[in-house]
C-alpha cells in the first residue's frame, strides 16, 4: 500500500465478535449438535477420550507453533515423533532398557534432532521448509534401519538372528494408558502442562516477547541486543523435544514399535497450528489457538463417528469445516487496501 495501512474502517462490533469468537462459537455449536444427536457424546469419558485422541497431534502442533512464533517452520515433528516411538520400543525391547533410561534416551534424541535442524537452518542458512523436510525423510528412513523395516514387538527376531527379550515396562505403558482418578489420561495431562507452560512463556514473559520479536523482525531483535540465533536454535530444540515427548506417549499407547505409526500426524499438527491462527482473532501463531484447533478437529471427527458417518465423509467434512471457519474469520476481517 502506498500509504500506511488505512485505519480499520469501523468494523462493526458484531463483525469483530464473529472474527474473534467465530471458531469458538462453531466449536460450541458442534458440541451441541453432537450432544443432541447422540447423548453418549457428552459423557465425561468420551470427552476425555477426545482429548486423549488429540493429545499427540496437539503436542506436535504446539511445538510447530513455537518455531512459527520464532519465524520458522518445522515439518519434521511428525517424522520425529514416529522415530522416537520406534526408538523407545527399541530401547525397551531390544536393549532391555529401564523406563527412566528409555525416556532420557528419547528426549535426548529429540534434543539432538532439534539441534540438527537448528544447525541446518540457523548455521548453514538452509530454508526452514527444506531443511526440516530433509530431516523428515532422514528420520523416516533411519527408524527402519535397526530392524530392517519391521515393527518392534516383544520376542521379535533381530537382523542378526537373536531374539529380543525385553518388554514394555508397566511404568512406561502407564504414560500412555493410565488415567488419574480413572478419568484424566496421562497424555492429556502432559499436553495440558506443556501447553500451559509454553503459553505462559510465549505470551506472558519477556522471553516470549523476544521469540515473537525474532519471528517478526530478526534484525530489529538483534539490534535490540537479543541473541537471536540462540533463540532460533532454542525454538527448534523446544519443538523437537515436545515432539519426542509426543513420540514417547505414542509408544506407550501403542505398546510396540510400529513402523507405520504417525502417518498423518504432520499434516494434522500443522492444520491445528494454522487453525490456531484464527482463534480469538489472533491472526498469528499462538499456543492456545493451536490446542483449540486440535480439539476442534478432534471433536468433529469423534462426533461424526458417533453419528456413524462413513469414514470417507470425515476428510471431506474436516476440509469443509476448516475452510468454512477460515472464511468466517478471514473473510469478515477488514481488508487492507
Amino acid at each position: 500500500m502506498a500509504s500506511p495501512a488505512r485505519a480499520p474502517k469501523g468494523a462493526s462490533s458484531l463483525r469483530r465478535f464473529a472474527i474473534d469468537y467465530g471458531l469458538l462459537i462453531l466449536l460450541v455449536g458442534l458440541v451441541v449438535v453432537f450432544a443432541v444427536a447422540q447423548p453418549a457424546f457428552l459423557r465425561v469419558n468420551n470427552l476425555f477420550s477426545i482429548l486423549q485422541a488429540v493429545a499427540i497431534v496437539a503436542l506436535l502442533g504446539v511445538g510447530v507453533t513455537v518455531t512459527m512464533i520464532a519465524g520458522g517452520f518445522d515439518l519434521s515433528v511428525g517424522g520425529l515423533a514416529a522415530f522416537v516411538q520406534m526408538a523407545a520400543a527399541y530401547s525397551l525391547i531390544v536393549l532391555d532398557g529401564s523406563t527412566g533410561s528409555t525416556i532420557l534416551l528419547c528426549l535426548g534424541l529429540g534434543i539432538l534432532v532439534g539441534l540438527g535442524n537448528a544447525l541446518l537452518i540457523v548455521r548453514l542458512g538452509i530454508p526452514d521448509l527444506l531443511a526440516t523436510l530433509g530431516m523428515l525423510f532422514l528420520l523416516a528412513g533411519l527408524q527402519l534401519i535397526p530392524t530392517g523395516g519391521r515393527s518392534i514387538a516383544p520376542g521379535m527376531t533381530l537382523l542378526d538372528g537373536s531374539v529380543a527379550d525385553g518388554a514394555f515396562t508397566n511404568a512406561f505403558l502407564a504414560l500412555g494408558r493410565h488415567r488419574f482418578w480413572d478419568i484424566l489420561p496421562v497424555p492429556v495431562l502432559v499436553l495440558a502442562v506443556v501447553a500451559a507452560a509454553l503459553w505462559f512463556v510465549m505470551d506472558l514473559t519477556r522471553f516470549g516477547r523476544v521469540f515473537h520479536a525474532v519471528g517478526g523482525n530478526e534484525l530489529a531483535a538483534r539490534l535490540a541486543g537479543a541473541p537471536t540465533r540462540a533463540y532460533r536454535v532454542c525454538a527448534y530444540v523446544i519443538s523437537s523435544t515436545v515432539a519426542s515427548l509426543g513420540g514417547i506417549l505414542m509408544a506407550a499407547r501403542i505398546g510396540r514399535g510400529d513402523v507405520s505409526a504417525g502417518n498423518g500426524l504432520m499434516l494434522d499438527a500443522i492444520a491445528a497450528a494454522l487453525i490456531g491462527y484464527a482463534v480469538l482473532g489472533a491472526n498469528r501463531p499462538n499456543i492456545l489457538g493451536t490446542v483449540v484447533g486440535a480439539v476442534f478437529v478432534g471433536v468433529l471427527l469423534n462426533g461424526l463417528t458417533m453419528l456413524n458417518a462413513p469414514y470417507y465423509l470425515q476428510d471431506f467434512v474436516k476440509g469443509a469445516v476448516l475452510i468454512g471457519a477460515l472464511t468466517v474469520t478471514y473473510g469478515l476481517a477488514p481488508k487492507r487496501a
Partner: protein, 500 residues
Amino acid sequence: MPVVLAVEGLTKRFGSTRALTDASFELHAGEVLALMGANGAGKSTLVKILCGVHGADAGSMTIGGTTVAFASPRQAREHGIIAVHQTIADVGVPTLSVADNLLLDRSCTGRGPLLAGGRRSLRAAGAIAAGIGLELDLSRRLDALSIAERQLVAIARAVAHDPAVLILDEPTASLSAPESERLFAVLDRLRDRGVALLYISHKTGDLRRIADRIVVLRDGRVSGEFRRPLDLDAAIRAMVGHAVGQVARRDPVPDGAPILRLSQARLAPTAAAFDLVVHAGEVVAVTGPVGAGKSTLAGAIFGLWPLAAGHMDLDGRPWRPRSAGEAIRNGVFMAGEDRWRTTFFPGTVPFAQIAGTIGFPFLDRWGRAGLVARTAETRATRRLIAEFGIKARGPEDLPASLSGGNQQKVVLARWHAEPARLLLLDEPFQGVDIGARDDIIRAIRAQSRDRATIVFVNDLEEALEVGDRVVVMADHAVVGDAADLARISALLASPHPAVS
C-alpha cells in the same frame, strides 16, 4: 566539556568498496555533533561500527580514556552508546504492539519485568512514550502505524536507555515540522543533561536548529569540521565538492492548460471538500503535517482508491481510474513514498537490477508479443543513468548496492522513462543528500514543461525549493495555496477549516 567518545583512524571495507577511510573525531558530553555527508559517504557505516553492528577493519575507539571494541550492539549499549538506525524497517517488530516495541530492548537484553504485558510493563511503556511526549495507543500493532509514528517509537526507545551517547541516523527523514520540533525539544533536554549526541541529517534546517558542531564526511574520509557560528554553505561545499545554489525558480507557465482538476473532492466522508487545479508546465508542492492526507490524495488521483466524494477531470475529461494500471496507461505516473516498499524488488526477483526496475511498468510498451525487450530496456536505462547522474556501474547493478540518494534517483528515473501527462511524486527526497536533492529537483524541472507535476512532501523547506506553488493540506483536505513563505506559514498555522 569532557570527551566522551574518541574515534581514531576508523577504516571499513565492504569487498572492493571503501566505505570508511581513516575517520577520526571526538564527541563531547552535552553537545550535538552533526555528521554530514553525501549519500554513500559512509555515515551509516560509521554509526554501525560505533554501536557494534559491524567491526572496523582498522582504527580504534576510546570511551572515557579506555580503548573499546564492540562485538555486538549489546556491548555498545553497556557502554552507553545507543543508535536509532536509518532503515526504518530495521527498528521495530511489526507484529508486536507499540508497548512491546517500546520495551523491546529491555526484553531482549533480559532486563525489565519477567512478566510482559502486565500492568507494570504497560506503565513502563507509557513512561517511555512520555519521555519524548509521544501520544499513541500503546496496544496498536506497530504495522498499523505510519512511518512517522514508527520513527517516533524508535526514538522513544533509544532515549529510554538514558544513553551517554545517542546516535540518530536521519531521524527526521519522514517527520514534518511540528514533529521535528518536538524531537528537537527532547534533544535539547538531553543535551542539557550532558548526553553526547551524534546527529545525521540531510536537512539543513535541522542542522541550523540543533547542531553545535559539524563533521563532514566525503568518500569515507573526514573532509572538514565546523564550529559555531556554523557556516553551512562551507560545510556543503566540503561535502559535495562544489557550491549548491538554489535552483532558479521559474515563473509558472501562465498559459499552461489545466491538466488535473478536482472539484468538491473529499478524501474521507467526514473531511472537508476542496478544489484543486494543476496546469501543464507547473510543479506543485503539496505539504502539510504527517497524516494530513497527502499520500491519500496522491493515491486517489492514481486510482488506488476512490475519492470519498466529488470528482476529478484529467485533460477536461472525467477521470475515474480504477487501478494503477489504468492510470499508467493514461500517462498518470506515481512514485510512491518509501522506495523499498513501493518500488524495488528483493534480490530474489531475477530482474531486481536497475534496468529491470525501470523497465517493469513499461514492458508492454517496449516489447512485442509478450517478450521482454531487454535491449530497449537497457538502452533506456543507460540514457536515464546518464540523464539523472546515477552513480552506478551500469544497468545491471542492484539498487541495493547503491547509496540512498542514487536509489531515489532510480525511482525518479523510472517514471521519466516514458513521457507523463501527470507525475505524482510522494516524498521523493526521503534520505537524499543535499547535492542529490539538487540534482533531483533539476531533473524534475528539466522535463516538467509538457506535463503537470505534483510533489508531496512533509518538509516545508523542500516544498518551497521544488514547488512553483505550494498547496497546504491539513486534516485530509486542501486548506489553500500560495507561492510565498509568509502566506504559506499563515496557512499552516491557521486553524483548520470546519468540517462541513
